[in-house]
């Protein structure tokens, strides 16, 4: 008898605790802070976080020091992590109402955080944060549901980085790259692979959302429109087929070599080791790749196109700064973003490590002083100017895993698990389901 009653008591206690926790957790929908957008009188501490490597940590810390010197009452706490860990942490922090005041943001995640109301409407901070220093088409890519919630701090342009050491060794000369087609590109890449006898590979096919976006534009299509995937299965299939073809004709060496290269860190990849002739990637990557491969003999040429000269490129935001809607100090946060974006000395310290600065004045003054590979990256914006078109819709909420999804379906095609068109249809269905679920 005693025993039965006792257990009832325990059970009731446990149930009550569970009920309490559940209701508490459900109730903790994290609302925006109503902190007024005016600078505080006393000392203020704000938090800044970003993802990235050692070079970025050093540069950002130095730039922030300059900001603290200019605003002695503001102290900035800095947090950083690697790419994967960053998003895990940010999701948990946002859920707990503990998001940093200023966050580095990526285009893939912008729509998610923007539509969740986690990001401050920067219309409220215009007094402290000047967005007039960048191109209007670029600024527009920081908007979600019509509100400016993010500041594009850099742009990223895809180009082809060429390791001339590899070409020189094989006695090959680059064809005319000003207006080259994919056929010309792959013919040349194949020559590299054949002539080097497998020691060096020609290139590897693009395998992320940016590459797919450009592929769609080159085929006269759009990847997304609002919350719909609008690329046709046929165009997507040709994109998924590309690495399979290049594995077969030797441009990528083999299927496994391609697979290993897509997963490798820069220093472990063929291009980083100086065993690959051409790499389709962001222009600013030329400097780190040159360092990894231990050569300055690299050049930057435009992407091959389906129709040479068409306006298929666009100013893609490399990274964004965003301010948390939960921030208790939105004015100070905005001042920090303004400093990192528009201050001349901060621009010099940050350089091109995060991409080409969005602020046009800073970009030009950097280009005037830069040398070597940095200079090539900064000048590249002007080089592709004639092919710049309208900016596309940003990646919708629910498609944040786009990059990984592309690689997964490409692997299915490369290793013969699926036909390209089947893979394309399945991929569109999977992504659309994910977008519909999220919205």
């Amino acid at each position: 008898m005693m025993f039965k009653r006792l257990w009832k008591k325990y059970l009731a206690a446990v149930m009550a605790t569970v009920a309490l926790t559940v209701s508490a957790a459900c109730g903790s929908s994290v609302g925006a802070s109503d902190a007024p957008v005016v600078p505080a009188d006393g000392d203020v501490t704000i938090r800044l976080n970003w993802w990235g490597g050692d070079a970025r940590i050093k540069a950002t810390e130095e730039a922030v020091k300059g900001f603290e010197k200019e605003h002695p009452n503001i102290h900035v706490d800095m947090e950083y992590s690697d790419w994967t860990g960053y998003w895990d942490k940010l999701a948990v922090q946002s859920a707990g109402g503990n998001a940093p005041d200023v966050m580095q943001m990526d285009e893939l995640y912008l729509a998610f955080y923007g539509s969740m109301g986690s990001l401050l409407d920067l219309g409220k901070t215009s007094k402290y944060l000047d967005l007039g220093t960048m191109d209007a088409s670029l600024k527009q890519m920081g908007q979600v549901e019509g509100k400016q919630v993010a500041v594009p701090m850099t742009t990223a342009q895809y180009g082809v980085i060429v390791n001339n050491d590899v070409l020189d060794e094989l006695g090959l000369a680059l064809p005319d790259t000003e207006r080259w087609t994919w056929d010309e590109f792959s013919d040349f890449a194949q020559q590299v692979a054949e002539k080097s006898n497998g020691k060096a590979i020609g290139s590897i096919a693009p395998n992320n959302g940016y590459g797919l976006q450009l592929w769609a534009r080159q085929h006269g299509e759009k990847l997304f429109e609002g919350n719909r995937i609008t690329i046709s299965p046929e165009t997507l299939a040709s994109f998924l087929q590309l690495p399979a073809d290049w594995a077969k004709n030797g441009i990528e060496g083999s299927a496994e070599r391609w697979s290993e290269n897509t997963a490798a860190a820069m220093n472990d990849s063929d291009f980083g080791k100086g065993r690959q002739a051409m790499m389709i990637t962001q222009a600013t990557m030329i400097t780190p790749y040159a360092q990894a491969a231990g050569t300055d003999n690299m050049t930057l040429v435009p992407m091959p196109q389906v129709e040479p000269g068409a306006k298929t490129m666009y100013l893609k935001p490399g990274m964004y700064w965003t301010i948390s809607s939960q921030s208790q100090h939105p004015a100070e946060a905005a001042m920090l973003v303004d400093y990192l974006l528009n201050d001349r000395s901060a621009g010099e310290i940050l350089g091109t490590e995060r991409g080409i600065p969005a602020n046009n004045d800073i970009r030009r003054s950097l280009a005037d002083e830069a040398t070597g590979t940095d200079r090539k990256a900064l000048d590249f914006v002007d080089k592709i100017q004639p092919t710049l078109g309208d900016s596309p819709a940003i990646t919708p909420n629910g498609a944040s895993e786009l990059d990984k999804t592309i690689v997964r379906y490409q692997q299915d095609v490369v290793f013969g698990k699926r036909k390209a068109l089947d893979a394309a249809k399945a991929m569109i269905a999977e992504l659309q389901e994910s977008i519909d679920f999220a919205s």
């Binding site: 005693m2 025993f3 006792l6 257990w7 325990y10 446990v14 605790t17 569970v18 926790t21 559940v22 957790a25 459900c26 109730g27 903790s28 929908s29 994290v30 994967t84 998003w87 895990d88 999701a91 948990v92 946002s94 859920a95 998610f112 969740m116 986690s118 083999s254 299927a255 496994e256 070599r257 697979s259 290993e260 997963a263 944040s400 895993e401 990984k404 690689v407 997964r408 692997q411 299915d412 290793f415 698990k417 399945a426 994910s434 679920f437 999220a438």
Partner: protein, 310 residues
């Protein structure tokens, strides 16, 4: 969970003459640090995840009740099925291989050879390291295209430059190898079990003319069967929950081509990358169910081959 049962017994027996009520209170006091942790860090989050599994929840917006939607979604989710297939393949192949390796070495070491302590430690070492991130990183290098494994093969005249990690047909096998390599802890348990078998049995058998193999199948295996059973159950449960190795070796993707998409890794991706916490919680509870069923099957089959002396 066994601590929960012990706690239950403790409460249940508190009025038995042997345990004075005061003793129970003291015991509960000593248990308190663990108890508080278990309730607030394990039990309540677990129950909360059951609630969450019936909701749509992205960690930022409040959970929204959706009934059985998450569970129904599994039926049409191809990646759920492929993760199940990858995990079951891994369990079905790596667990028996590991146990056979552990048993074989235990029998060898049981002969009381010289330097036994050294060999025992040497073979046990991988078990201490195997679950760590460092070893998974090492594994990635060993089976890479420039790795040790290819160097080893090439010593024998082959010329392999294939990356075993990057090929979907072999990637899971490298992880199975990693699991088998950690045969040390079941081996130590087998060794302890072998010491319990009365020597007279072997003596009697050899007098009757039984050879080594006959002695092994007729004495060692039946006598050891409860230990084998214990190792089997634990090994199945543990290997079903493999996460770290697959996460590190595939860079968190479960690739190439979802060939190392372990169940727990898929669950993690759904929860923390796709932010479908409701679906991830539902997946977790289905995993609890699957592990329970597998354990149940193990117990049901055990009466056909496990012999207890008493």
């Amino acid at each position: 969970m066994s601590s929960f049962t012990e706690f239950g017994t403790l409460v249940k027996n508190r009025h038995r003459p042997k345990d004075k009520p005061k003793d129970t209170k003291v015991a509960l006091g000593f248990l308190a640090p663990w108890l508080i942790g278990a309730i607030f860090l394990s039990l309540i989050p677990m129950l909360y995840s059951l609630v969450i599994s019936f909701t749509k929840y992205n960690m930022i917006k409040p959970p929204q009740f959706v009934g059985l939607m998450n569970y129904r979604h599994m039926l049409i989710d191809p990646r759920f099925l492929s993760s199940l297939k990858v995990t079951l393949t891994y369990v079905v192949i790596s667990v028996p291989l590991q146990l056979v390796a552990a048993l074989a070495l235990a029998v060898l070491l049981d002969r009381g050879m010289r330097g036994l302590a050294f060999y025992r430690s040497a073979f046990y070492l991988p078990s201490m390291l195997g679950g760590s991130v460092a070893v998974a990183v090492l594994w990635k290098m060993v089976f890479g295209s420039d790795g040790l494994f290819n160097a080893l093969i090439n010593l024998f005249g082959a010329s392999s430059s294939m990356s075993w990690i990057a090929n979907p047909d072999t990637a899971n096998w490298t992880l199975i190898a990693l699991h088998v390599w950690q045969f040390g802890s079941p081996m130590v348990i087998f060794l302890a079990g072998l010491r319990q078998i009365p020597r007279e049995l072997y003596e009697a058998a050899s007098v009757d003319g039984a050879g080594k193999w006959k002695q092994f199948t007729a004495i060692t295996l039946p006598q050891l069967s409860p230990i084998i059973f214990f190792n089997l159950v634990m090994s199945v449960i543990n290997s079903f929950q493999t996460f770290t190795q697959a996460y590190v070796v595939s860079g968190g993707t479960g690739g190439p081509s979802d060939s190392t998409l372990f169940y727990t890794l898929y669950l993690y991706q759904q929860g923390f990358a796709s932010l479908r916490m409701g679906y991830a919680s539902a997946l977790a509870w289905i995993m609890v169910l699957i592990v329970a069923v597998l354990t149940g099957i193990n117990f049901a089959l055990s009466k056909f081959w496990v012999h207890y002396d008493d």
